[in-house]
Amino acid sequence: MDADTTAWESSSVARVVPPARPRKLAKVPFVELAEGRLQGVVSSGSDIDRVYVSSIAAAGHGYNCSTNNNRPCGGLGGAPCKHLRALADEAVLQYGIERVARYLRADVDGAASTGADLIAALSGGREPAPAAIVFSRFLRHLTYLELPVTTEPIPELHWFPATGAAR
């Protein structure tokens, strides 16, 4: 075992998850790698009250896109729609292509760098997906911003130092 491995294992503040990289949230407010899928929510370009729920599964790369009221996306034909393409683009910005490709077990080559490269490396077709669950996860995500600020110290957060890796 080398010294770096030992230091990592014996550090109380070893960095485990790289922080998300900053990106524009207006078009795709929510992206996550969870439940075996790249999934997220894409704002409709025409109706401010409508959002699309888009997802790509790691197993088999099946994809889907529908509104939050479970109506299928009109743009979804034999290929991923513009919402899925936007989801892939923003996921690559937020996590970096390596992490997304690893999660989706997608075989991208070393030159791949964009959401389009990621989509090109996928092999699946259209498949049903639990849009309602993804949408409720997005709503839960938003509720964090509704929680009040506290001025009582949280000593536990000393285990979570802020880092500069986001820059």
């Binding site: 491995t5 230091a7 990592w8 294992e9 014996s10 550090s11 109380s12 503040v13 070893a14 960095r15 485990v16 998850v17 922080p19 998300a20 990289r21 900053p22 990106r23 524009k24 949230l25 207006a26 407010p29 992206v31 790698l33 969870a34 439940e35 075996g36 704002s43 401010i48 009250d49 939050n68 937020q94 997005f138 709503l139 995500h141 938003l142 509720t143 964090y144 911003l145 509704e146 929680l147 009040p148 600020v149 506290t150 001025t151 009582e152 110290p153 949280i154 000593p155 536990e156 957060l157 000393h158 285990w159 979570f160 130092p161 802020a162 880092t163 500069g164 890796a165 986001a166 820059r167």
Partner: protein, 466 residues
């Protein structure tokens, strides 16, 4: 910080420290593989942990809990006792380390007053305890998506209760790391010490009354607060800004080292300078951080731990000041606070210091050299919400920082630096961007990505209340 005592601190580890960490390491290894698969060697590690606290009031219970774990019939209470034994060992390590640091800095620390017995409280933690038990039984190697997802409802319920924010933030941070590493069995090496720390902490605080909150009897103080630097803590769904400073109490009492904190819940896409926008309700505090002026405070509760409970409406902006000058005059004589019993862990050591007249040793791990002493900078702790960079630190000639200890070594976390860049003197502070970034490049990048907080609040307003 003076060269000779610093050299002594760096050269001489407290007696018994490696032995204590070896015992803790044995327990942590048991958590990697899970209590369901202990085997002889790891069962012996649990006995060794119990043996290490044999002379304490925990002794008999710990021996019993280790035996029951080895027999495969561990209860929640047994786990809590083992967690308590691990915490007690690290508490002793903390005390020894902090004591040698105080000696090196010539710092006087207030004695710890015994805590009042916590009033009986409700127990909303059954779900948390049962999840933590499942984790211990499965071991980190056995953690999969389903086991992580099982914590979801428990964490959601804790988050809904503002008084349980500490427990919620801790469990949420641990669950997010486990989720990102699933399945952990495929990970080359898990962060063994870290996850055992978080598990132990979570279990000890998943009990009624463990974190009773701020009582009525907390004394309040008035006076002048000089913030010397800002420490930022962050995971995907929480951020805490902790300002370290010197309080000159009204009425001429001696100055004290204090901290004051603001913490917000957030989401992973709010990062960098945008973090400050979560604290828009604290304009007086943020203005002082950005503008480097003193704060005149009136009637703020001050905990024995040195935590000043911030109320923005009980503070007004005072005169601008030079933090380096104040640190030079005030840090040496200020009274340091006691560390509450349950917070005694090496990770909590964060002592504000001023270092100057040093030379920089560049390389993979940059350090400052003061006489014979070589103290490494902790450059992983430069937050993205401020202007400090590794380059600035490497060009620095003076530094206000926090002395920390991790993985067997002392480190200096820079909070503010005075440096020479292109032959010109510059000063950079971690809180400089509290009211918005001042670096034109960062302003431009912010404008390009838009206001993340505003976008998500708009979405929340439109979608959540339907």
């Amino acid at each position: 910080m003076l060269a000779t005592p610093l050299k002594e601190l760096l050269d001489q580890a407290p007696d018994g420290l490696p032995e204590a960490f070896a015992v803790v390491g044995g327990f942590d290894d048991a958590l990697v593989h899970g209590l369901a698969r202990l085997g002889e060697e790891r069962a012996a590690a649990l006995s060794a942990l119990a043996g290490a606290v044999a002379a304490t009031p925990l002794g008999e219970r710990a021996a019993d809990a280790a035996a029951k774990a080895a027999a495969g019939s561990v209860t929640d209470d047994d786990l809590a006792v083992l967690a308590g034994a691990r915490a007690a060992l690290l508490g002793a390590a903390h005390d020894a380390l902090l004591d040698s640091l105080d000696t090196a800095l010539g710092r006087t620390r207030a004695p710890l007053e015994p805590a009042a017995a916590a009033p009986p409280a409700a127990d909303p933690f059954a779900g948390a305890r049962s999840w933590l038990r499942e984790l211990a039984i499965a071991g980190w190697r056995g953690v999969d998506h389903d086991l992580v997802a099982a914590a979801g409802q428990t964490i959601e319920a804790l988050l809904d209760e503002p008084r349980l924010r500490r427990q919620a933030a801790l469990l949420d941070g641990l669950a997010a790391e486990l989720r990102a590493c699933c399945p952990v069995a495929a990970m080359p090496r898990p962060p063994v010490r870290r996850w055992a720390d978080l598990w132990t902490r979570a279990l000890l605080f998943a009990r009624p009354g463990a974190a009773p909150g701020i009582g009525e009897d907390v004394p309040s103080v008035s006076g002048r607060l000089f913030v010397l630097g800002v420490d930022v803590h962050e995971h995907a769904t929480a951020v805490q800004v902790q300002a370290h400073g010197v309080l000159e109490p009204a009425g001429g009492e001696p100055p004290r080292l204090v901290r004051t904190s603001v913490a917000a819940a957030k989401v992973d896409t709010i990062v960098g300078p945008a973090l400050w926008r979560l604290f828009g309700g604290y304009p007086v505090l943020l203005g002082a951080l950005a503008g480097r002026h003193a704060l005149e405070v009136t009637g703020l509760p001050l905990l024995a731990s040195g935590d000043l409970i911030w109320h923005d409406d009980r503070a007004v902006a005072g005169e601008p000041f030079d933090p380096f000058a104040v640190a030079r005059i005030r840090l040496a004589g200020a009274l340091a606070p006691a560390v509450p019993a349950l917070d005694r862990h090496p990770v909590r050591i964060a002592e504000p210091v001023l270092a100057e007249d040093y030379t920089i040793e560049r390389g993979e791990r940059p350090a400052l050299r003061l006489g014979e002493a070589r103290l490494e900078f902790d450059l992983d702790r430069l937050p993205s919400c401020g202007p400090l960079t590794p380059e600035l630190v490497a060009a620095s000639t003076a530094c206000i920082g926090l002395v920390r200890w991790d993985a067997g070594r002392w480190l200096l976390q820079p909070l503010a630096v005075a440096a020479t860049v292109k032959r010109k003197p510059v000063v950079a502070h971690g809180g400089e961007w509290a009211t918005g970034p001042t670096d034109p490049k960062v302003v431009k990048a912010e404008a390009r990505s838009g206001d993340a907080v505003a976008v998500l609040r708009e979405r929340a307003g439109r979608l959540l209340r339907r």
